[in-house]
Symmetry: C2
Subunit: 139 residues, 2 copies
DNA sequence: CCGGATCCGTTTCGATACTG
DNA sequence: CAGTATCGAAACGGATCCGG
């Protein structure tokens, strides 16, 4: 059995948020959808440090149920399914950014492209705004 | 067997960070140690939305191994063990703050005290600085 | 082909009871 | 008080199969 939608009894925002993203894979799937701009099942399968297809399918289903992503057929290629982030998912960008900053500061084995790291350090909000704009214009 | 220290093959800062805090409990334990200022095993046991004692013990051990908390005997009461956050753990405050902001924005069932929420919205950095200062002065 | 679903062994979780 | 021991339940993950 794969992961189910949980029901936590707490009203703490952190605890409730972790019901959605408090596992090993969900935030990585969102990272690939949002930051690496992957949109197809196969792209996500190849990108996520080796996620299993059943786990990916499960997470995509949960993310759709939580209204974090939308799912639709590719108009150009009827077989393909396109996954796209909603505003709710894009609003997790600050969380991802802070995780990256933390990793780059404290984990010597964590790496990021130099221009990427510089932008994060010097212009966090601009970086987030640019990334959001890309998705909102559907580029 | 409980959770082990993982070894992910990726060098992505998000993926690597999730090896430490990418589960349901670790970040909640840190929340209680850092934001609620709980320091004893029993305090943490009572506070964390009902964490089981074996899971708490396991997470405290992993957090110590990751140099996120320190463990020492209470000088006043020899049985008690005091857990305290390191700089590395305090540097997760921005991540926690952004999770809270996300929850308050998108989860209607997430709540926070009014003055707390206002401070988060209007003076995020000041709030983080104040919280860090409390721990650094050992108050 | 593409996006999954199913099967099934392994790992981790978590409630309760217990111990130094 | 600060943890272990136990054991059933849940989640993971690899392999394989299936429907459009």
């Amino acid at each position: 059995m794969t992961k189910k939608l949980p029901s936590r009894r707490s009203d703490c925002p952190i605890a409730r948020a972790l019901d959605f993203v408090g596992d090993k894979w969900t935030l990585l799937v969102l990272r690939d959808i949002i930051m690496a701009r992957r949109r197809y099942f196969q792209e996500l399968l190849a990108g996520n440090e080796g996620i299993a297809s059943n786990i990916l399918a499960n997470r995509l289903k949960l993310l759709e149920a939580a209204r974090m992503i939308t799912r639709r057929r590719d108009p150009a290629q009827a077989r393909r399914v396109i996954y796209e982030p909603t505003e709710k998912a894009l609003d997790l960008l600050p969380v991802m950014i802070e995780l990256i900053r933390w990793g780059l500061k404290h984990d010597p084995n964590a790496t990021a492209p130099a221009h990427f790291a510089r932008r994060l350090a010097e212009d966090r909000d601009g970086f987030i705004a640019d990334m959001r704009a890309l998705h909102q214009r559907g580029i």
